[in-house]
Each structure stands twice: as structure tokens, then as C-alpha cells.
Amino acid sequence: MNEQRISLSALAPGEVGVVRQLAGGRGFISRLATLGFTLGAEVNMVQNFGHGPLIVNIRDTRIALGRGEAAKVVVGRIMNNDQ
């Protein structure tokens, strides 16, 4: 399985990514980390229309993120040939 580093906002619905890096201020990183966005956590893209906010599933929780916020999360995309 190879991995491609992209920003979370570029992840397509149904795709799974692994959190690799968080950018932004301390408060922002702290809030995301608390919600489960820690290094190595799996994120499942639920809804992403390419504009506006998006919805991800992380640690059994649906989280809505602004596009700008999602752009600060770097994920490794897990290439899945089944989907």
C-alpha cells in the first residue's frame, strides 16, 4: 500500500486518510488534537463537494470542518483499489 501526502480538503468522499501533520496556531492544533486528530489517526471523508465546509468521520465521530481548517491538516491518502 503506498501513501500519498495531500491536504485533508483534497480527500474525496469515501476515501480514508491518516493524519500526518497539523499546521496552524497552538489553539487550533489543540482543539483538533482533542477531537482525535492526532498523528496516525484514521480520517474517513464523508462529504466533500470541493467547495464550502466538509464532513469527516474520525474516531466514530462526524466532524464538520471549514475548508480552510481542513486545508491545515495533512493526511496520507491510503490508496484503496476497491473503491
Partner: protein, 670 residues
């Protein structure tokens, strides 16, 4: 307080993240014994209550729902300060079994403090629906904490929870939980920090905990320690912190690793993710187009219900309670001085009646809203609206309080508490009075048919549109020029949909209604008496009163809109309560409040252009006194309150003048 002195009194703090069913648990435990107030010196709501068990009185304090105990918000600071400073006998931590790892994060932080914790493993039914199976005993063995499986929405597990609290409170020495350890790579740096701050950590914060919070970048602890440490020592701390800037990620990561180890044996997950009801509903509810359509439909229904059921009730209350009350007072005081009768019948009962007749509409509105909140829809509404709110520098969460403004601006201003970020909260409060509330719409409903006959509905719709457009324009302008264009991060949990709980909704309606009556009732009463006095002093006639003098003073401004002094007086009295506009016009044109007579008296007075200017003004004018009082209370600042009043004064006059002069220019309605 210690248990030795008062053995029959136990204090329990109820902690939990948002969306874990904490308020349902709190409501079940306390029922109507609960009190709603504010945390000392804060504008955050504090709920407390009590229950009795085994001859002991158990005081429960509901801590704000927070995802962590690292103080990046007021709520988090309140929650952890309560546990550290007030030392409750037991902390009940509620977690969501269907999102176990995430909701255990708060527990991991609670265990770093000394208060004994009982874990309420709530929503086990929801977890089962998703084929997640949790063994409470295995979890209990791993954490070395009492773990009580429960389904609070079905009142299951409450007795066991109460008993677990009782056992722990009566034998606190038995408490020896498995605490999350410090990762090796942090031990050295934490030891270093501890050494520097030795003896400087403020009581009663534990020193090791302070060091950890410094490493996590906790704003409050950082501020406190910077004040307490000597500049040299702070310099040392600061350089360590700069070296480990991303420590929060590592610390949070370590906590989640620990949680992973704790739940590994206790949690069995399905091999494939379940497509659950929430996902299906959300395909529509959070869709940029269908979701918006659904939102409009749902809100339309709420309004229809509010007015279809509430308005007739309001009429009944007015006829049989307020008017009958005023008549009763007049009859009872037959022979008493006229000023006393006027004061009681018009000033006091008029003001109190205003408050009472609003209740049916508010109650229905609060119930509909409580229902939407409880099933989990409100977060979706915020999500769908986020792209629009974004334009104003607000995020989706501001939508809910603003929407409340359609019912009444008072709960809208109070509701701004859910908005994160001081500036975003202030902005929400400042634009909230531009929401067309029921009272303003009631005035339009009476006056528009008089002035515009068959086009009344069109005009009313246009006025609502105008208010919303002005709200957007002012919101954008304030965001850009006054509040400095700060960007607010939009991060929000979308809870799973679930069946509504009548008890939760009932209690929220009850509390919101009581809050409205308490907070606004007294102020409305006082101001309505004052305005009544201004309208009869010195001579007893409104035409020669102080109020009329003020209206005449404003007449030159009114003439720019084709409005006489009577209309300005009507506008002034709307400060007490918006629907006073009608009553005042009734008095000034000696027509009474009855539609037909008022219509006859008014129809010839204003040109259509002036009438439109007047209606637009009364939509945008200074909010009623109750709202202003609430703004003062919520912003805790007279400056911002005055700013809000001045802003709306300027905006309403500007729009009124623009409409009238614009109409004159194109030669319409003159």
C-alpha cells in the same frame, strides 16, 4: 466542605463532552429541583440541582460540556477550576459508548486530577445499533474505576449510577485508578519544567499538572505562570516551551494511545463500517442544495406552527387576562385618583400583560427548537448555513441564536453564548436585533393592510427581506471595520440523530421561558411604567406630554420621511415593546386599538412612500428595552450596549429617509 463535618451532604460534579447525553442524565437526576444561574463572574450558564439517596443530599453541579480540560475557552477553564478548587466528592464523567475513544479523552484528563471519578457509559443502545459491543466489566478492570453502563434516554442505569456515586463517596480511599502515564520522551522535559516552577505553582493546582499544562500550551496556565515566575525563570520556561512547540500533539497523541490500550479488550467493533440512519439522513440534510431546501421547509413549518397555534392563544390571553385585568383594576379602584388607576391599569398591567401574552408564542417556538436541537438537527442547520454566515465572519453556529431572533430578540442575544470566540460572539449579539421578531411582525401585520391593502403580504415579505439584507450588510461591515476581520475556525461535531426525549425538551422550554420572564419581565415593567408616566405628565394628555414634546423635537427628522410627530412618538414608545406602536397610534389618533377604526384614522394620514418608510424604520429601530437589557447583560459592557443602540438608531433613520426620498425621486407613492 469535608464529609466529616456534614456526612449527609455529597457534592457531585457532572462532567462530559458535548453530545454524550450529559444533560439527559442531569435532568433525570435533578428534575425540577434544578437551578439555572451563571458561574460566578462569568456569562456562562451554570446548572445545579440535588437528589436524595440513602439519607444523604447529593448536590449536583453540571459542568460545561467540553472536549478537554485545557483552557482554550471559558467553558474549559470553568470546568477544571471547579474540580480543582471546589474539590467535589465525586466527579461523574459521562461518555458516549458509540464514540468511546473520543469521549474518553476528557476522562483521561480528569484522571490527571485527584477527584474520584465514576464513569457513566451512556448510549450503549446506540453503540449496539452500530454493532459495537462494549464489556463494561473489562473496561472497569482496565481503568480501575466504577463503570456504569446506561441508556439515559430510556432511564436505564440511573439507579446503578446513583449507587456507584454513593459507594465511592462513602469510601474515597478505595479510589486508585489507572492513570495515563507520561510518555518517556516527555518525562525529561516535564521534570525540567517542574524543577523550574518548584514552589511557584499557585494553590491548589498540583505542580506536575501545571507543568503538563504548560507543555500543552494552555493559555490560562501560561498566563498565570508568566505572572508568578521571575523574568529569568520565565525565560527558561519559555525557551523549553519554544523547543517543544508541538508538544500538544504529542501529549494528546499519548492520551489517545493510552485510551486505545484501555478499550482494546473491552470494545469489539464490526469488521465493516455500518451505514447507519444518520448517514442516510445526512445525504439530504447536509447537502448544499437539498439541505438548504430542507432547512427552509423545516423553519417554515416551525413558523407556521408558532403563528397558527400561538397567535390565537396570544389573542385569548390578551382579551381574557390583560384587558380583563385592566378592567378589573379600574372597577376595583373606582373613585381612586386617576393617576393611580392609570399607573396600575395602563402602566403596570399593560407592561406585565405584554410579557404574558408573549409566552404562548415563545413556548411553542422554544419547543420546536428544543425538538430540533434534541434530535440533532441543529448542528446540520449550522453546517448548511456556514457558507452564508462565513461572509459575515461568523460561522454556522451563529445561525441558531440568530434564528431564535425570529421569535424574540432576547433569546437570540442570550443564545449567542453557544458561539465560540469573543469577537464572533459580540458580532452575533450586535446583529441579532436586526432579526424581525414576532412583535415587530405583529405591528406589520396590523399596519401593512391599513396602508397597502391587497399588497400587505408582499410588503411584509419585503420588510423581512430588508431586515435580513441589512443584517448581512451590517454584519459584513462590522466584521471588516470594527472587529478586525478575525477568522473563526469552524470545527463542529455532528451528533448522531436520535429520538427526541420529551423530558429534555420540556425542561429546556421551561428554563428558557422562566429565564425570559425573570430577565425581561422586571425591566419591561419598569420601563413601561416610566414611558407611561412620560406619556401622561405633566397634563394627563399624551398630546401635551413630555413624550409628545420629544416626538415634536424629532419632527424635523420625521419630515424627511414624510412622517408627523405622532409617528415619531409611536416609534419612541416601541422602545418599551414593539407592539406599543399600535397602541400609541391608537391613542394619538384617538381611534383605539381596533383595526377598523385605526384603519380609518390612519389611512389618510400617510402617503404610501411615508408608510413604507415608517414600517421599514420600525423594523430596524432600536430593539425593545428587554433586548437592550439583555445585550448589556451578555456583553457586560455599557459601551457595546450604547454602540448597538446608536448603530440601529442611525441605520433605521438612514433607511427610512432613503426609502422616502428615493420614492420621491422616482415619483412613487407621493
Amino acid at each position: 466542605m469535608t464529609n466529616d463535618q456534614i456526612p449527609n451532604q455529597i457534592t457531585v460534579a457532572l462532567a462530559g463532552q458535548p453530545n454524550v447525553g450529559k444533560s439527559t442524565v442531569f435532568n433525570l437526576l435533578t428534575g425540577l429541583s434544578q437551578r439555572v444561574g451563571n458561574w460566578p463572574g462569568k456569562t456562562i450558564e451554570q446548572k445545579s440541582g440535588a437528589y436524595h439517596h440513602n439519607g444523604a443530599t447529593v448536590q449536583i453541579v453540571d459542568l460545561p460540556g467540553t472536549y478537554s480540560l485545557t483552557a482554550n475557552s471559558l467553558e474549559e477553564q470553568i470546568a477544571r477550576d471547579y474540580i480543582i478548587k471546589e474539590k467535589p466528592d465525586v466527579v461523574v464523567a459521562i461518555v458516549n459508548a458509540a464514540a468511546l475513544e473520543r469521549s474518553l479523552y476528557l476522562v483521561a484528563e480528569l484522571l490527571e486530577l485527584s477527584a474520584p471519578v465514576v464513569l457513566g457509559l451512556n448510549m450503549t443502545d446506540v453503540a449496539e445499533q452500530q454493532r459495537m459491543h462494549i464489556e463494561p466489566h473489562v473496561l472497569e478492570a482496565a481503568l480501575c474505576l466504577p463503570v456504569v453502563p446506561m441508556v439515559a434516554s430510556k432511564n436505564q442505569g440511573m439507579r446503578e449510577l446513583v449507587e456507584a456515586v454513593d459507594r465511592l463517596a462513602s469510601d474515597p480511599d478505595s479510589y486508585d485508578p489507572c492513570r495515563p502515564g507520561i510518555r518517556e520522551d516527555h518525562q525529561a522535559v516535564l521534570a525540567q519544567l517542574q524543577q523550574i516552577i518548584a514552589g511557584q505553582a499557585p494553590e491548589p493546582y498540583p505542580q506536575g499538572w501545571v507543568a503538563l499544562k504548560l507543555l500543552e500550551g494552555d493559555q490560562e496556565i501560561t498566563r498565570i505562570m508568566q505572572e508568578r515566575l521571575s523574568p529569568e525563570k520565565w525565560e527558561q520556561v519559555h525557551s523549553i516551551l519554544m523547543e517543544h512547540e508541538d508538544a500538544i500533539l504529542a501529549v494528546a497523541g499519548a492520551r489517545y494511545e493510552w485510551i486505545g490500550r484501555m478499550v482494546r479488550a473491552a470494545l469489539v467493533r464490526p469488521t465493516f463500517g455500518q451505514i447507519i440512519l444518520t448517514d442516510r439522513v445526512d445525504r439530504v440534510a447536509t447537502h448544499p442544495f437539498w439541505g438548504l431546501l430542507a432547512l427552509v421547509g423545516i423553519l417554515g413549518l416551525v413558523f407556521w406552527l408558532t403563528y397558527a397555534v400561538g397567535a390565537p392563544l396570544q389573542g385569548l390571553l390578551d382579551t381574557y387576562l390583560v384587558q380583563a385585568g385592566a378592567e378589573g383594576v379600574r372597577a376595583a379602584l373606582n373613585g381612586a385618583p386617576a393617576w393611580l388607576v392609570g399607573l396600575l391599569a395602563d402602566g403596570v398591567i399593560g407592561g406585565a400583560g405584554m410579557v404574558v401574552t408573549f409566552l404562548p408564542i415563545l413556548v411553542i417556538f422554544f419547543a420546536a427548537l428544543g425538538l430540533l436541537e434534541d434530535v440533532g438537527y441543529m448542528a446540520r442547520a449550522a453546517y448548511v448555513m456556514d457558507r452564508f454566515m462565513h461572509l459575515m465572519g461568523l460561522h454556522g453556529k451563529s445561525f441558531l441564536p440568530l434564528f431564535l431572533g425570529f421569535g424574540c430578540n432576547v433569546p437570540a442575544v442570550m443564545g449567542a453564548r453557544v458561539v465560540e470566540g469573543q469577537k464572533a460572539r459580540l458580532l452575533t449579539i450586535l446583529v441579532a436585533p436586526l432579526m424581525p421578531c414576532t412583535a415587530r411582525m405583529a405591528v406589520v401585520a396590523v399596519l401593512a393592510p391599513i396602508f397597502f391593502g391587497p399588497y400587505a403580504t408582499l410588503v411584509a415579505g419585503g420588510l423581512v427581506g430588508l431586515s435580513l439584507v441589512m443584517l448581512a450588510i451590517i454584519g459584513i461591515a462590522l466584521h471588516e471595520f470594527v472587529l478586525g476581520g478575525e477568522h473563526v475556525a469552524f470545527i463542529m461535531e455532528l451528533p448522531l440523530y436520535h429520538l427526541p426525549n420529551p423530558r429534555t425538551i420540556g425542561l429546556s422550554v421551561w428554563q428558557r421561558s422562566v429565564a425570559f420572564l425573570k430577565k425581561s419581565g422586571s425591566i419591561i415593567l419598569v420601563v413601561s411604567v416610566v414611558v407611561w408616566a412620560l406619556s401622561v405628565l405633566p397634563g394627563g394628555e399624551i398630546e401635551s406630554s413630555y413624550l409628545a414634546a420629544m416626538g415634536r423635537l424629532l419632527a424635523p427628522l420625521g419630515s424627511l420621511m414624510g412622517l408627523g410627530w405622532q409617528m415619531m412618538v409611536a416609534l419612541l414608545t416601541s422602545f418599551v415593546a414593539k407592539e406599543n406602536t399600535i397602541a400609541t397610534l391608537g391613542v394619538l389618533y384617538s381611534a383605539g386599538e381596533e383595526g377598523a377604526r385605526l384603519a380609518g384614522a390612519l389611512s389618510g394620514v400617510l402617503t404610501p412612500a411615508a408608510a413604507l418608510a415608517f414600517l421599514a424604520m420600525q423594523m430596524l429601530f432600536i430593539p425593545c428595552v428587554a433586548t437592550v437589557a439583555t445585550i448589556r447583560q451578555e456583553t457586560a459592557s455599557w459601551r457595546w450596549t450604547a454602540f448597538s443602540v446608536a448603530l440601529l438608531l442611525v441605520v433605521s433613520f438612514a433607511v427610512g429617509i432613503a426609502i422616502y426620498q428615493g420614492a420621491m425621486l422616482v415619483g412613487w407613492g407621493v
